[in-house]
């Protein structure tokens, strides 16, 4: 029985399912004749939301139409269009996506399902804020929805990890840009507290802001950070070429252990040394500022066959201490992690299971391997829950089912909406089954 082996970006917990790629709404509707269906985009979620062991996985990549961009930046796109494709289409015409995650290789459907955020959440909110309308195919029918029309289904779908239905197309409002560059201020900070203070102090002066934190140093340099903040460069005749295509790729998966405490510490050290202590108004290309990792295709292979997990949490503004406690716990345990990203969030969206809440968010990658890792992440979950925070379902691959309801207080409401549009529970995923996101 040849089934397709599917995993998330972390290459863990594979699910073997039947993968189909419909190209029309009626074909999409037909997939719901099966019991056990989930949508899949480009598979950039880290865990298991876009796979279903023994079930039917419906790729949205067949919905790849990009419409003309209206004078006010409104465009309708197929759910399988990637942010990369949209950017390549839009930039030469002077438009950009209002929100982009750290990779362009995410479909619009996926961006909605995870309600993705970018470096500008404190200014403009998450992806859902910029979706004017979307068409959703569910087991009970196909519906055109918007924040005011079938709002329950609309908002349950934003951040709903695909569990309410399959989006076929969406209408979003792009933002005007006049160049393909971003003006960036970079500052280096000796430790976490200073980094966080600088962010609170100055973030409102910038459209985009993100800090890279070193989680491997201990002592007074714990959480030393590089803070990069910027805005689109406004130019009268700026060039609008989109980012160049990926040139480098990791062709094979190296053995486990390539990325270990030593190599990661060395990398972190080099990265930190290389960054300028202070740099004002330096021009960066859009590609290098927004999507640095996209330059290396299949970088996730560097973690080897055991793969890796990403841990991302959000805590309210008054609980910034959780960030410090988390970094401290990880650094004292010597859990190797580079690419720890710290951002601030503005107010969340109305998505029932949408991740961002006003406050702080920290995201880090850790190779699977260290024996104490599962226990430490469980401890961090507890810290996050007691602080009124949550972890990001698009990144999760190991959280306890009991914590989901504690983190997402609107889970019950979400399941009520799912009851209406998917009463027979035809839509499910490995994530939903692992986290018990279902009514008993």
């Amino acid at each position: 029985m040849a089934r397709t082996r599917l995993t998330g970006w972390g290459n863990t917990a594979p699910g073997f399912g039947d993968l189909v790629t419909p190209r029309s709404v009626s074909e999409l509707q037909e997939t719901f004749q099966s019991h056990g269906v989930i949508a899949r985009g480009l598979g950039r979620s880290y865990g298991d939301p876009a796979q279903l062991s023994g079930g039917l996985v419906v790729s949205n990549l067949g919905f790849d139409a990009v419409g003309p961009i209206a004078a006010d930046g409104v465009v309708t796109v197929g759910a399988g269009v990637s942010i990369d494709t949209l950017i390549r289409w839009a930039m030469p015409q002077g438009w950009f996506v209002p929100v982009t995650p750290g990779t362009r290789q995410v479909t619009i459907g996926g961006a909605i399902a995870a309600d993705v955020h970018g470096k500008n959440h404190h200014a403009v909110g998450s992806f859902a804020h910029h979706v004017l309308a979307m068409r959703i195919v569910t087991p009970t029918g196909t519906f055109d929805t918007s924040p005011t029309e079938r709002a329950d289904l609309f908002w349950a779908t934003c951040g709903g990890m695909g569990l309410t239905g399959i989006v076929s197309e969406a209408t979003i409002r792009l933002i005007p840009i006049s160049s393909n560059r971003v003006l960036v201020d970079t500052t280096k900070h000796a430790n976490l507290a200073e980094t966080m203070a600088a962010m609170v102090d100055g973030d409102d002066n910038y459209q985009y802001s993100v800090a890279w934190i070193d989680c491997m140093t201990t002592g007074k340099h714990m959480g030393r950070g590089i803070l990069t903040r910027g805005d689109h460069l406004v130019a009268t005749d700026g060039r609008l070429d989109p980012p160049s295509a990926t040139s480098l790729a990791i062709p094979v998966t190296p053995p486990s252990g390539l990325l270990n405490p030593l190599t990661i510490r060395l990398f972190n050290e080099a990265w930190f040394k290389k960054a300028p202590r202070r740099e004002i108004a330096r021009e960066h290309s859009i590609g290098s500022f927004f999507h640095p990792l996209d330059a290396l295709a299949n970088w996730n292979r560097l973690y080897g066959p055991k793969g890796f997990v990403q841990y991302q949490f959000a805590v309210p503004d008054d609980r910034g201490d959780i960030v410090e406690k988390a970094v401290s716990r990880l650094s004292s345990a010597g859990v190797p992690s580079f690419l720890a990203v710290l951002k601030r969030f503005g107010a969340g969206s109305s998505g029932h299971l949408s991740f961002p809440i006003a406050g702080w968010t920290l995201a880090l990658d850790m190779p699977v391997g260290p024996r104490e890792l599962p226990g430490i992440l469980d401890e961090l979950d507890e810290l996050v829950v007691t602080a009124g925070g949550r972890i990001y379902l698009a990144k999760d691959a190991r959280c306890r089912p009991e914590t989901v309801g504690l983190m997402y207080s609107r889970l019950s409401e979400f399941l009520d909406v799912k009851d209406v549009y998917d009463p027979e529970r035809r839509i499910t995923s490995d994530l939903a089954r692992r986290l018990h996101i279902e009514r008993n």
Binding site: M1, A2, R3, R5, G10, T12, A13, P14, G15, F16, G17, G47, D48, S53, G54, G55, K306, G307, V309, V368, G369, R371, L373, P374, A397, R398, C399, R400, P401, D430, R433, R434
Partner: protein, 257 residues
Amino acid sequence: MENAFGQPQRVIVLGGSSDIARAITRKLVAARTHTVVLAGRSTELLEKAAAEAHEYGATAAPLVSLDAENPASAVPTVADAFDAAGGAVDLVIVAVGALGDQATDEQDPAAALRLMSVNFTWPVVALTEVRRRLLAQGSGRILVISSVASVRVRRSAYLYGGAKAGLDRLSDAMADSLAGTGVSLQILRPGAVRTRMTADLKEMPFMTGPNEVADYVMSGLESGQRIIWSPPILKYVYLVLRHLPKVLWTAVMDRAN
């Protein structure tokens, strides 16, 4: 459903009252396992194991009776266990086995039959049914508890060792048959472990306690490796031992006894 660390939520343990099985259950239940079905022969020992599972965090620990001396009972027992699990089964551990007493058993065909049933035939019939069910489910893992004794059968325990050798080779090839299906099989080869079963044996080289074995199992589930050696060094010890000329092998084994 398993998570990224290979930690299962619903587990069936065939032979759930053995010391090694209990140690593994404790670790599983402390991680993500909420339902563990314990199948065994002695109700009293099973109830103790179930109480312990609850103590360590299980929400459900139903009991199923099992008679490994009767291979025909394997299919109904597996059916009962799957029913009791109440949902998709993530891991089935085959932990039935009996050491017997070589000195008396080698004289006794009935004892030989019993040892084969418990250590080989019953587990193989059960595995066949478990494999069928997990394939229908489309996901799941099987962990077969074999033994280093299966690697090269020795004179001093050839009934037990021979049966384990058969189980071990068969399981390895069964694992091959599952490639690309979403179901996988792993084999645990523990060295000597201090348990009820080995209570009469003296301390041997590289002997461990059941908790260490359980630790290696948890790492093995995370890595997905086909053979889990406990302790890991035995892989290299047996790499050498299995190829020793008979004269040397016998000399080493005599010293180990």
